[in-house]
């Protein structure tokens, strides 16, 4: 969230975020910025309640929404991986994940008929308790995995934060959105240099 505010500021939005104020909406010089849960962003942008949003590629794909995603912002980089207890080699029968759609898609691609179980948090526990014989979850540094004797078996998806834009808004509000897209691309290019 902090990074998203920062790139928007770098792209020229007059935006001050006050954590204490617990505000849900900020007026950034003619642009209204709202804070919503990441998995709700594809809904807000898809229905056009918000013209644009910042969301991880993982969440975007899991939502199944078909939004424009003109800028890969690069931050919040992580990978979604298949994780098993270290040394496990048996066939996959049940896989737990916060990303059931992506997990099912991955299993189909690799020809597995394992069942997918949807969980909401501490997904690694599913492996450790025997609820599932693998999980699909976000890996950032791998610290949690090592501490729990788990290992990353395969990468399902590489993710990073994306600017997503409503289809109608990009066309009908191009005068506001195109400069924002150009500015965000420039911010990312500078960050990459």
């Amino acid at each position: 969230m902090a990074r998203a505010f920062e790139v928007l500021r770098q792209a020229g939005l007059q935006l001050e975020r006050s954590v204490e104020a617990r505000a849900l909406r900020y007026d950034a010089g003619g642009v209204m910025v709202i804070e919503v849960r990441n998995s709700d962003i594809p809904t807000y942008v898809g229905l056009g309640v918000a013209d644009a949003g910042i969301v991880g590629k993982d969440v975007l794909l899991e939502s199944g929404s078909h939004l424009y995603e003109p800028v890969d912002l690069g931050f919040a980089a992580c990978r979604l991986s298949l994780i098993r207890p270290r040394g496990a080699a048996g066939a996959l029968r049940r896989v737990a994940s916060k990303y059931p759609r992506l997990t099912a898609g991955y299993l189909r691609r690799v020809g597995s008929s394992a069942e997918v179980v949807r969980l909401s948090g501490n997904v690694e526990l599913a492996c450790l308790t025997g609820l599932a014989d693998a999980v699909v979850d976000i890996v950032e540094t791998g610290g949690t995995l090592r501490a729990n004797e788990l290992e990353e078996v395969a990468v399902v998806l590489r993710s990073s934060a994306r600017l997503v834009v409503n289809r109608a808004a990009l066309k009908l509000k191009a005068r506001r959105l195109r400069p924002l897209i150009v500015a965000l691309r420039e911010v990312c290019r500078r960050a990459a240099d």
Partner: protein
Amino acid sequence: MAFPPEGTRYILPEEAQARAGVVGLLGDLYDAWGYRLVEVPALERYHPDHPRVGQSFKLSDRDSGVLALRSDFTPALAGLVRTHYPRVAAGEEEEVAPLRLRYADKTWQAIDPDVARTREFTQVGVELIGVSNARADTELIHLARESVRAVGLVPRVEIGNPAFVRALLDLAAVPQSGRGELADAIDRKDRSTLVALLADLAPPKDVAAALFEVPDLYGDVSVLEEARRVAPWPPALAELERLQAILGEFEDDSELLLDLGTARRLSYYTGVTFRAYTFDYGQPLLGGGRYDGALLPWAAGFTIGLERLLSAVPDRSEGAPVLVLSLDDVGARILRAAGYGVMRSLTTDVEAARQEARRQGIPYLLTEVELEPLEEAGSGLAELRRVLEEGRG
């Protein structure tokens, strides 16, 4: 309480009237352009090649055959044409007059009710069959624009031509297996995925550069000029020419937008496609395009989702509200003929009728002797009395 199945609902009088009003409005518009109403069965024979095969409700017939509920009007109308207009269906473009058909009815799509709450839709649309040229495409785009205006909204019609991206994929020699993913990334304007996919395919450098630019080729008609610079190869230029020919037919192209990155649409579209938008509404109001060679040799059309169109229209009261409760059938006939809404009282007792009118929120009571204003009556009493007197002679 017995709710109907998930994704379907009862539609109560006020909304039903508003829906019928819009359907009527659009029907009148299409009639005026020479499009004629047809009906097609809601029950279809199940076919694994149907473009929406994964989304249709299936039913079993008595003889163990499988049926499907109509999920899309375009293939349904193509069936009607193949059956009843074989010469049009055979593509005898020179000898037979093109067909202009319209429809307005329900379709059903067996989509996950968690994803989309509606599984029963009313679709209103037109098809122009048996001809393929820029003038025909233009007619449909005109009509799409008029459809949005007809309901009081300001239209913007976005035109694309997926054949332009296809031409570039041909030039890049992208194998069939890799095309879906690439076209998808272009359509989503997802440049980072596009770069990754192009790196694997290693097409000629100039074509790769053009493909990288395509997602940003959207906006007003000046985009065509930019596209010619980005993709100066004959097969790509020919597709741009098709768009130019359409734009050239419009005396005023200010309400038109182009998006040359449009690459992913329903499987049957083969040529120019378009969508209509309006301001402050985040979803397209209608969509259509040309599907030559897919379901019929030469054909194009568009469909409006009635539910979506109505959700974009600001609330307004529809139809003539009932103004008079009547105990006098002769007087009622006179008022109805003059366009007033008159409801027949279910009692013959005047005091009971007064109460009935109040319960229904009706401001006037008509008896055989007089027209009586009740408490909530407005200012139209004199006019109503005049109409009655004139009618009675």
